[in-house]
């Protein structure tokens, strides 16, 4: 594709699907020698764009440094074409909680891209040869990958340095990759992985092994309750196809999974409520000019006007869960539940190579459907993506069906550090399953 064509494609896709919070508009910039183009979710810091993480409170903030993952992709020859839209600070499953633009689904603009890496999934879906850097805390890569019909890989916690990532939940956040198929991810995952002196949690990983294979999977029965009828059928078709590929499928139970989502929301919001404390109008982003008010009023005023509705809800929830008197019942208990979930997965991995479930219980919902969902219903949509995220395990969402023309994904969860097996399986899957691309893709 010529430079002008690429620029036109990016502009066109963005205009129709509101993918970018900010994008490269200078045609000359595209002329720069590059091996591939990529985008970064807007909660990743780069010095050439604002980093607002979907929030008004970071309006105007241009970071003084690049996130390690972005810096490494640039070193690998990547051209950063823009920052993708997202739910504010990652708070959402539909990318509707955003101050910078709500991305629209490539298959149906009246539907959501999923979230919180919605813009990233839309970019991966709409742009040929594109690599989108996303971030998952509780499913924010898998979910939009499923809704936008792309492959989304969430690596093991600590595999990719979080230096330069605007925190949501530090014990849960993972930087990963989305692309139309697994090839780009396979090629560039090694580039962004590896220890980074700037992030202690990245320093305990073994080298990436891309040779792993998946020969057997477990399908926990808990994952199949609460699915729409068509989703259930589509998933069973995918299971049958995997069996035909020679993958052994075992039906089993993972009873502890029912605790995972609550534990996830407690830890995520408890950590988020402390991470967001720093946004108070004094040091970056939306700076409050009027200092003639007491510090409590000053901070409250800035935060109340700069943070969105869902951000406030999660701050309230997270703050409550760590307050004296509630902390043991919620926060500490959630930490203990995480150990339980990790053990439950380890138990499965003694006999199978991965755990298989659908990615989401339904296909991309329409915006009007989303509006009528309660907060709790929205949270419950993450019940399949929450558990591996809570446990810090690598997982991948692979398009496995099209229901009334809308894509749906299946999710595979592997043991720690086994990203390689997930990508091997995706590659094999792609040999026999043809992805349908959205109209207008360039």
């Amino acid at each position: 594709m010529s430079v002008m064509d690429l620029l036109a494609a990016v502009r066109d896709a963005d205009e129709r699907h509101r993918i970018f919070a900010e994008r490269l508009e200078d045609p000359l910039a595209y002329e720069v020698e590059h091996a591939f183009h990529f985008s970064a979710k807007d909660n990743l810091c780069t010095s050439d764009f604002q980093a607002r993480a979907g929030s008004r409170i970071l309006e105007g903030y241009r970071p003084p440094f690049d996130a390690t993952a972005v810096a490494r992709l640039r070193q690998a020859g990547g051209l950063l074409i823009g920052k993708t839209n997202m739910d504010e600070f990652g708070f959402g499953s539909f990318s509707t909680n955003s101050a910078t633009g709500v991305p629209r689904n490539p298959y149906d603009a009246a539907r959501s891209c999923g979230g919180s890496s919605g813009g990233a999934a839309a970019a991966a879906s709409m742009l040929e040869g594109h690599l989108a850097v996303g971030v998952s805390t509780g499913g924010s890569i898998s979910c939009p990958a499923s809704f936008c019909g792309v492959v989304g890989l969430t690596p093991t916690y600590g595999r990719v340095s979080r230096w330069g990532l605007i925190d949501y939940g530090n014990s849960l956040d993972k930087i990963g990759l989305l692309s139309a198929s697994s090839g780009m991810i396979r090629r560039y995952l090694p580039a962004i992985s590896g220890p980074d002196p700037l992030d202690p949690t990245s320093q305990v990983q073994p080298p990436l092994d891309m040779s792993g294979q998946i020969r057997s999977v477990a399908v926990p029965e808990e994952a199949l309750t609460g699915l729409s009828g068509s989703m259930r059928a589509a998933f069973e078709d995918a299971v049958a196809r995997l069996e035909r590929m020679g993958v052994e499928v075992r039906r089993g139970a993972m009873p502890a999974l029912r605790f995972a989502l609550s534990a996830y929301y407690i830890l995520a919001t408890a950590e988020a409520s402390t991470n967001l404390a720093r946004y108070c109008g004094m040091r970056y982003g939306d700076i409050e000019q009027e200092t003639d008010q007491s510090f409590n009023e000053f901070f409250s005023r800035v935060r109340s006007r700069g943070l969105g509705r869902e951000a406030k809800r999660r701050i309230l929830l997270g703050t409550f869960c760590r307050m004296v008197g509630f902390r043991d019942r919620y926060y500490i208990k959630a930490l203990q539940v995480r150990e339980l979930i990790i053990r439950e997965y380890e138990e499965q991995f003694r006999s199978v190579d991965a755990v298989l479930t659908p990615t989401m219980p339904f296909v991309a919902p329409r915006f009007d459907e989303i509006e009528s969902m309660s907060a709790l219903e929205t949270y419950q949509a993450d019940f399949l993506t929450g558990p591996p995220n809570l446990a810090g395990l690598p997982h991948i969402s692979i398009p496995c069906a099209y229901i009334d023309g809308l894509p749906a994904g299946m999710q595979l969860v592997a043991p720690r550090w086994e990203e390689g097996r997930l990508l091997s399986l995706a590659e094999r899957w792609e040999n026999g399953f043809e992805y349908r691309r959205p109209e207008g893709r360039a």
Partner: protein
């Protein structure tokens, strides 16, 4: 009266606790980076040296060391706190349940942990409407927090506790020269039943002053039959009073959670492998026990200089403690500054032979004193003897002003050593030690 302290002392590392910025910045907001300014996307990395210093303090204070520790976020909103949470330690301090002995009394140590310092606030504008001007050079500087049991019984004792603690920490980890003014404490004090907390007092003097004021205030209230309300106050340095702290309008809920970005640290093996150096007051106690030195003399020797104590021990091993005391507290300490300036680091090898000569009878006391004076660069003037009429009144005056020595002398003749040292100091080693000790013994015996 019960007083408990939460003492904050800066750890003398080169770089900050969680970033590589220098701990000393000249210009305002010059030693700062995205980490210590809490910029979004930055994250902390723990300074090994700070952790080691903290562990050595916990071990020194006889604490039970936690095998594995982690850090926590303490969330509260204030302009000097860049993330509006402080990275500190909550469930797992480095050590707990230790003690520190002052004046023979054990003061309980509840916990020892390390944490980051917030920035420094300068108040600007009209009183009551001051705005914050903040210098973040201090943001992220490592602190050790030492929390005592409420075992201190007076403001004076609280100050003595801090003085002794700083003496020991200086040797243990090497504090800054102005540690007595930079040490900070939150103090809780109860004269009656109810406890009042005084937040963030700076410096030894102010801590004692603040406590004294507060003790008096509480006593007055109690005497007038009034109740003391449980509250947080702050010390106003200029007025020397404590005032209700208006800034925290409601009880903060810090909502502690773990800090995942740092992981965990196994400090048990580190603590067990650590060999702590002997600290000054521990050494003074040993000098008392091993050589029968009076407490004040032992303290004087170790606090004058570590090398002086080395010399004392070298002399005591060769010539016995009496001779060592006489010479160390006399001619040697009288000219210690000069001696150290000229021969620092090799004083033992320089002076011990002189005393050896005295003991072998090769030279007299007076000659030895002269040699030491010459070493100190004082030459003949220092060696000029006074007439013995001058010694009498001096001794008698000193004995008069030290009634406790007279009392101790009855049961322990060594108590005289203290006076011998004083006279030697005052007369700059111009009298033979034998001459002085005889004059003192005579004088003391008159009064027994």
């Amino acid at each position: 009266m019960r007083i408990g302290l939460e003492v904050h002392v800066q750890l003398p590392t080169r770089s900050k606790l969680f970033c590589s910025c220098s701990t000393s910045g000249d210009e305002v907001n010059s030693s700062v980076c995205p980490i210590c300014l809490g910029f979004p996307g930055s994250r902390p990395r723990l300074n090994r040296k700070a952790l080691e210093m903290g562990v050595s303090i916990a071990k020194f204070l006889n604490c039970d060391i936690n095998e594995k520790v982690w850090f926590s976020r303490k969330t509260y909103f204030y302009p000097d706190l860049v993330k509006n949470f402080q990275i500190t330690q909550y469930e797992t301090p480095l050590g707990k349940d230790g003690f520190f002995t002052i004046g023979g009394r054990r003061i309980g140590i509840w916990r020892v942990h390390i944490e980051e310092d917030p920035g420094r606030i300068k108040r600007a504008g009209r009183s009551g409407e001051e705005v914050a001007l903040v210098d973040y050079n201090r943001s992220g500087v490592p602190l050790v927090e030492i929390v005592t049991a409420p075992d201190l019984t007076s403001p004076e004792e609280a100050r003595a506790f801090l003085t002794d603690l700083l003496i020991e920490l200086r040797r243990l980890i090497g504090l800054s020269p102005n540690d007595e003014t930079t040490v900070r404490a939150d103090a809780n004090i109860s004269v009656g039943e109810e406890r009042v907390e005084i937040k963030n007092i700076n410096g030894l003097k102010s801590i004692e002053k603040g406590l004294k004021f507060e003790a008096k205030r509480q006593s007055k209230l109690l005497a007038a039959g009034k109740k003391i309300s449980r509250e947080t106050r702050r010390f106003d340095e200029e007025r020397g009073t404590t005032l209700p702290s208006r800034e925290k309008e409601f009880e903060e809920d810090y909502g502690y959670i773990g800090e995942p970005d740092l992981g965990t640290f196994t400090i048990g093996p580190m603590a067990r492998a650590m060999k702590l150096p002997e600290t000054p007051l521990a050494r003074a106690a040993r000098l008392e026990a091993e050589y029968g030195l009076a407490p004040t003399s032992a303290r004087q020797i170790v606090l004058t200089s570590w090398e002086l104590a080395d010399m004392f021990e070298a002399l005591a091993r060769r010539a016995g403690s009496e001779t060592a005391t006489t010479w160390t507290l006399g001619a040697i300490s009288a000219q210690w500054m000069e001696l150290q300036e000229r021969y620092g680091g090799r004083l033992e090898e320089t002076i011990v032979p002189i005393i050896d000569d005295v003991r072998s009878g090769a030279i007299t006391d007076a000659e030895a004193r002269m040699r030491i004076a010459i070493l100190a660069g004082k030459g003949s003037e220092a060696a000029k003897p006074l007439s013995s009429e001058d010694l009498g009144p001096l001794v008698s005056r000193l004995v008069d002003s030290n009634p406790d020595v007279v009392r101790d002398f009855r049961s322990n003749p060594r108590a005289a050593n203290f006076l011998i040292g004083q006279v030697m100091k005052e007369t700059h080693g111009r009298y033979a030690s034998k001459e002085i000790s005889e004059a003192i013994r005579k004088e003391l015996e008159k009064r027994v």
